[in-house]
Amino acid sequence: MLILPLLLAFSIFMLYPLYKVVESSFYKASFLNPTFRVYVGLENFRWLFNFKVFDPRWSYFVAALSRSLLWVGGSVGIKVVLGIAVALLLNSQFLAGRRIYRTLVIIPWAIPWAMSSMMWAWTLNSQFGLVNSILLKLHIVDKPVTFLTTAKSAFLTTMVVDAWVGLPFMIIMFLSGLQSIPDDLYEAATVDGASDWTKFVRITLPLLKPVILTTSLLSLVWTFNSFDIIWVLTRGGPIRATETLPIAIYNVAFLLTRFGGIGKASAMTMAQVALVTVISVFYIRTLRRGVEI
């Protein structure tokens, strides 16, 4: 059968691993000692909420999850707002050289995420980075900023770098959405004397809404799964300020083996999978409304 390889690939490398995640979350196990495995029931899920190590107020998992949600919300927010703004700009007939801009916009899309992060780390360097020279020249700051060494600025910086990585995709999607809006709608509005703002609110936004919705949901999932960028820039530091859920899962599974382990990391992964699944359900529903599947 033609479809068989696909079914096999999905079963062996997606459904079976997913089942393994669920199964391991009920066991105590570690990579250090592969033969040792004990059934512990819901112990790992209790651990998610009980285990307080770095902060007396929140458990390790709850802290990572809420950090993740905040980080994803911020990053996707930037991507959507800037994405729409740049797409509008590049769609405007008043802008000369649109073709060149459209090609330039795509370039960051093709750069490996880990490489983008290394480039950004250097661009944000406090002595020789262009970001600091621009900020100093414009007198926005009076002494160089160290972006990745304090908790708050590292959080914001990784968020902006992630937005940078995801922005080209958003711009291109919004741009193609804008191009599908018929011109005569705008012409009719111009005849009626509508202002640019009225046209944007009454024509562009309502007609772009399906594209905005599906693209944002897609970006929400991708951003929630983002690992490389934070790992290269900060490794979740300083003092865990950028330790989102994916980073925490990696740490608990592979690095913090003294209190971590496969079971606990699997329980955390369940939360990751659950959130992605919930967003996917919304995504598939909105897709269905737009196009027939």
């Binding site: 997606m14 330039l104 480039m119 780390a121 980075g129 940078w164 922005l167 996917s280």
Partner: protein
């Protein structure tokens, strides 16, 4: 007259905004360029000059001394990309044909699952992938990264191939069936040549993803220097306490140029597939 000055003003404002957006989007790329082209024996000046005082290509040669295994990493990334794209297309082409042509009970749930599977990222399956690869003794092999990497490119590849196959009229291959052609030879002799640009685009999409985005998989599956992809290989030098930035940026520039050029050459098809992929049925 008044109208045209307003138009011109708008044009100027939009141009300024567009340039500002480009500065944000291209800033790290520009910093990479000027760092890679500035000779490493020039003294560091803070802030760094926007245009290098002297331009030389020596850093590109010296990058191979700083990172002795650079050619090996590039070869590895090439092999990872090739493996991932061969597997992805090997699965996506027959599956895409079936999904585009036949009506069967699993079809709809499968299409929905493909969309869901496209949402998956390595972090969600990292632990079981590691356990499975360890059990089969595949840790530290090309195969481990290629197999686990493919699963994240198969969904979109299948989706894109399906939507392109739907654009080919049915009667074309039906005529070939009358001539005694099998389904397989109809796919390879008739349909694939008709949508070859799209198939090449999907191949390149999977290749770039395999080349570029195996960082986290390689981090847990690859332990020896000889098998590392370029991202992981360069990351080793990046995470050291003192980074030789000129040579480092030259190395990054050389290794990102390949996926960027490939991507720009086919982005038209990928964007078209992503935005018009309305699958009827």
């Amino acid at each position: 007259m008044k109208m045209s000055t307003k138009r011109r003003l708008k044009g100027i404002i939009y141009q300024i905004l567009a340039v500002a957006a480009m500065i944000f989007l291209l800033l790290p790329i520009y910093q990479m360029l000027i760092t890679a082209l500035r000779p490493s024996d020039l003294p560091w000046i803070s802030p760094m000059p926007l245009i290098p005082e002297k331009v030389s290509f020596r850093n590109f040669v010296q990058a191979f001394q700083l990172v002795p295994r650079l050619p090996r990493y590039l070869l590895n990334s090439f092999l990872y990309g090739l493996g991932v794209s061969v597997i992805s297309l090997g699965i996506a082409i027959p599956a895409g044909y079936a999904l585009a042509r036949f009506e069967f009970r699993l079809r709809r749930p499968l299409m929905v699952f493909i969309i869901y599977a496209n949402m998956f990222a390595p972090i969600m399956l990292l632990i079981p992938i590691y356990v499975i690869m360890k059990r089969f003794g595949l840790i530290n092999t090309y195969l481990s990264v290629i197999l686990s990497g493919s699963i994240f490119t198969i969904p979109l590849s299948t989706w894109l191939v399906t939507s392109y196959m739907q654009t080919v009229p049915k009667d074309i291959e039906e005529a070939s069936f009358i001539d005694g052609c099998s389904v397989y030879s109809a796919i390879y002799r008739i349909i694939l040549p008709m949508i070859s640009p799209a198939v090449i685009a999907v191949f390149i999409y999977a290749f770039i993803t395999g080349w570029s985005q195996q960082f986290i998989l390689a981090l847990v599956l690859i332990k020896t220097d000889q098998l590392m992809p370029i991202t992981q290989g360069l990351y080793q030098f990046f995470s050291r306490s003192s980074v030789r930035w000129n040579e480092m940026m030259a190395a990054i520039l050389m290794s990102t140029a390949i996926p960027v050029v490939l991507f720009l050459s086919v982005q038209r098809y990928i964007v078209k597939g992503l935005t018009t992929g309305s699958l009827k049925g």
